[in-house]
Amino acid sequence: MRNFFHRKSSRQIAKDRLKILLISDRVNCSPEMMELIKTDIAKVISKYMKIDAENMEIQINTKGNKAERAAKPSLYASIPIVDMQKIHGD
């Protein structure tokens, strides 16, 4: 991720950071609540497959480029899977 950002201008970095920051500000979701959501999602997914909960990321975002005030935000989760075997093993 870092290397990817380093190639960008600081103007672009600022825009990208703000877009993400403002969306979570606007939905009024505290970092504590995000952490709770993350733990719960990890718990549910772990029932079915082995995941890397340490490196999982969740983010609230809006589709498209424009941060329209009226746009509906969605929750994105990136969950690295360690072992799919558990799905069949159960």
Binding site: S9, R11, A14, L18, L21, D25, A67, E68, R69
Partner: protein, 273 residues
Amino acid sequence: MENQFSQEQKSSEVIVVTSGKGGVGKTTTSANVGTGLAKSGKKVCLIDTDIGLRNLDVVMGLENRIVYNLVDVVEGNCRVKQALIRDKRHPGLYLMPSAQTRDKSAVTPGQMVKVIEHLKEQFDYIILDCPAGIEQGFQNAIAGADRALVVTTPEVSAIRDADRIIGLLEANGFKQMDLIINRLRMDMVRRGDMMSAQDVVDILAVPLIGIIPDDENVVISTNQGEPLVGGASPAGQAYANVVQRVEGKEVPFLNFEKGISFWTRVTGIFHKI
């Protein structure tokens, strides 16, 4: 807005200048927009609502003429008229200073509304200089206002705070909010080291009413206590354009504002999100 009996009885506009973050140029903007409106023949009352940290009087160069202040008015120590300082350089321009030795809790939103209602009878424009933050001082400043100028600089922290303020203004029923982008440096934008006005407008999604270039003349004018609006300096010209747009006139954006798309120019003036 309402039925007018004659053209003279145009209802007055109450505008709050706010930003969330401190030090982005609320007071400078209040002083210049207020002075500019007075220069174009309007009756203008500037109110400093930053109780405990008053600054508008110094920026206006009127600090030596304070007798009574806003807190004196709400506490009934004086009449509204007694607290108004007339700016001798510009007919029609008045300042109601804030109290320096009190805190925000000395005034309530209800009291602010009352003072403003009283002032509305005599003035075309009432400009409220809002304190930084989102606490009581902010609530006091927005209570009597029907329109807002949101000031930001092209920096991450200022934009984040501006976004929060816009959300709070929306929640408080504000219909008209316009954005002023202050201290823009086109050389840095061209280098890719500063967000452009377009970038900021895309992120905040409110109509643009002015772009003020980073200009050392602002510091000089503050040193002198004389707002630079209408002068030859880049910031002075930019503020003069803001004033005209506040009055509802369509004014093209200046040269340093280049790089902004036609879309923003048009929507910046007419489009209300």
